[in-house]
């Protein structure tokens, strides 16, 4: 056999919301196993809409999504949701169980894993995000940054093929932002990261994709994207004051 199938393959994906608003107009995206890709684009570009297709929450109007060779379809949903770990923007939406440990266990238990294995996965996932001490605490007693990291642990416990993060650095203080970056940099998984934080993309993702108006308008190594002032300006992307993409 040849190389493993790409972790994520999106082909000609188009989608309109039920109210008729068309958000995606034929998106193509291929992410190889182990890659780390930043998904950039202005507000309303369709980034979150794309993410909701990756684990079958929204169903493609046209085109297809394939995760490690398995097409996203109604009958493959359970397996797709194991393979694609989505970390949503507001950790209060993601953490709904009474304690951190139970929350991280929610996914593995839905997979029907035996209890000792569930416990192993919870411990490993919490260790990966450096939150092992918080297993018995209620999520609402944690700081925002800690909750964000626990939200990452909840998907790591599923041992996903690809982790998708929707604006992971938003609302974090500088230390929380750095701590999350340290955690993400060490994760041995394929990563797709939506962000408006261009330095974060530069730090964590060698490759960047710009989505605007529901189509992919750029797909290049991150340093090249960030040093193309014209490209950035055309798509309402801005580097913070004083930041130089050359690093």
């Amino acid at each position: 056999m040849s190389a493993p199938p790409p972790s994520l393959l999106v082909e000609d994906l188009a989608f309109a919301y039920p109210d008729g608003h068309q958000a995606l107009f034929g998106v193509d995206l291929r992410v190889e196993r182990g890659e780390r890709v930043a998904l950039l684009g202005p507000n309303g570009a369709g980034k979150t809409t794309l993410v909701l297709h990756l684990n079958g929450i929204l169903r493609a109007g046209r085109g297809s999504v394939t995760v490690a060779g398995l097409p996203v379809e109604k009958r493959s949903l359970q397996e797709i949701r194991r393979r694609v770990g989505v970390v949503f923007q507001d950790p209060d939406d993601q953490l709904f169980m009474p304690t951190v440990g139970e929350d991280v266990a929610f996914g593995p238990r839905n997979l029907g894993l035996p209890e000792p294995e569930v416990a192993d996965r919870v411990a490993a996932a919490l260790a990966q995000v450096r939150m092992s001490d918080a297993a018995d605490r209620p999520p609402h007693h944690l700081s925002f940054g800690q909750r964000r990291r626990v939200a990452v642990a909840t998907v790591l416990a599923m041992q996903p093929e690809i982790v998708v993060l929707d604006e992971p650095s938003s609302n974090l203080d500088p230390a929380g932002r750095r701590e999350l970056a340290e955690v993400l940099a060490e994760l041995p998984v394929t990563l797709l990261m939506i962000t408006h934080d261009l330095p974060y993309a530069a730090q964590l993702c060698p490759r960047s994709v710009i989505l605007d108006g529901g189509v992919v308008v750029a797909d290049e190594p991150t340093p090249e994207v960030l040093s193309d002032a014209r490209l950035l300006a055309d798509h309402r992307l801005e580097l913070p004051y004083g930041f130089s993409p050359a690093g």
């Binding site: 909701l52 266990a105 209620p138």
Partner: protein, 260 residues
């Protein structure tokens, strides 16, 4: 984000390590329920009823002492009883039958017994529930309810209530701060309209949060039931300790029935 640490629901819980704290939540639930049943089963018009109430009171106060729940906490627990109390106080005035004179007022004898009985029964049950709430964390109570086979849907609703009470409370608080920061003082018809709009906005926000939480649950393989870990085995001693409260009450009741 502004979720208050602790929060409204956890405020009822008093952390501790007493024998009562250590009991399994579902064992405590059964105990309190059984106690309340014995209390309610006591016939109000029996002449020995007041003695039985005193016996129950002794039993529940003993439990409170073992649990380290002080008089102040018990009294605060009784606040929920005020509407019942008002009703019970009315009964002697409105009920018919033979009358007695008390301090120049003509009161119904059966109304007095019924009102007094109602008050005593409510008070005793609330005291037992207060001890339960003070010694059991809300989420542990939930697990207890689940072990007692309360339907999953109800358990999940209660679980989300506990989890999101602080989040929604925080949202309400931020909306109030935002209102007042722009000079709103409340009062009058306009005030009511503004509060109505706030309630509407809160409902919409909570509804949308519900949708997002549901998405997040689906994304992790939710199919309708929230799986919990294996239940811990219960030592027979736990049952013995917990059931001593309703058994003591039942003994008082039985004694009253035999003597009466």
């Amino acid at each position: 984000m502004g979720a208050a640490h602790g929060g409204a629901l956890t405020a009822r819980y008093m952390p501790g390590g007493t024998a009562v704290h250590r009991l399994e939540p579902h064992v405590k639930l059964v105990s309190v329920l059984a106690f309340a049943l014995v209390v309610v089963a006591t016939p109000v018009h029996a002449p020995w009823a007041p003695v039985a109430y005193a016996g129950y009171l002794l039993a529940v106060l003993t439990a409170a002492t073992v649990a380290g729940v002080g008089p102040g906490r018990l009294l605060r627990g009784l606040v929920v009883e005020i509407p019942f109390a008002a009703f019970a106080v009315l009964l002697p005035f409105v009920a018919g039958g033979p009358q007695v004179e008390v301090l120049g007022l003509s009161l119904s004898r059966s109304g007095l017994a019924a009102g007094g009985g109602l008050l005593a029964k409510a008070t005793l049950s609330v005291l037992a529930a207060t001890v339960l709430a003070a010694t059991t964390e809300p989420r542990a109570l939930l697990r207890g309810l689940e072990r007692l086979r309360l339907p999953q849907v109800l358990v999940q609703i209660l679980m989300f209530m506990i989890r999101y009470a602080d989040v929604v409370g925080g949202e309400l608080h931020r909306m109030r701060v935002a209102r007042e920061s722009r000079g709103f003082t409340g009062g009058g018809l306009r005030g009511l309209r503004v509060l109505g709009a706030t309630a509407g906005a809160l409902f919409v926000r909570s509804y949308e949060r519900g949708e997002r939480v549901h998405l997040a649950m689906l994304s992790r393989g939710y199919t309708g039931s929230v799986p919990t870990g294996p239940p811990a085995p219960v030592a027979p001693r736990s049952w013995a300790v917990a059931l001593s409260l309703p058994l003591a009450a039942a003994a008082v009741l039985a004694a009253g029935m035999l003597a009466g």
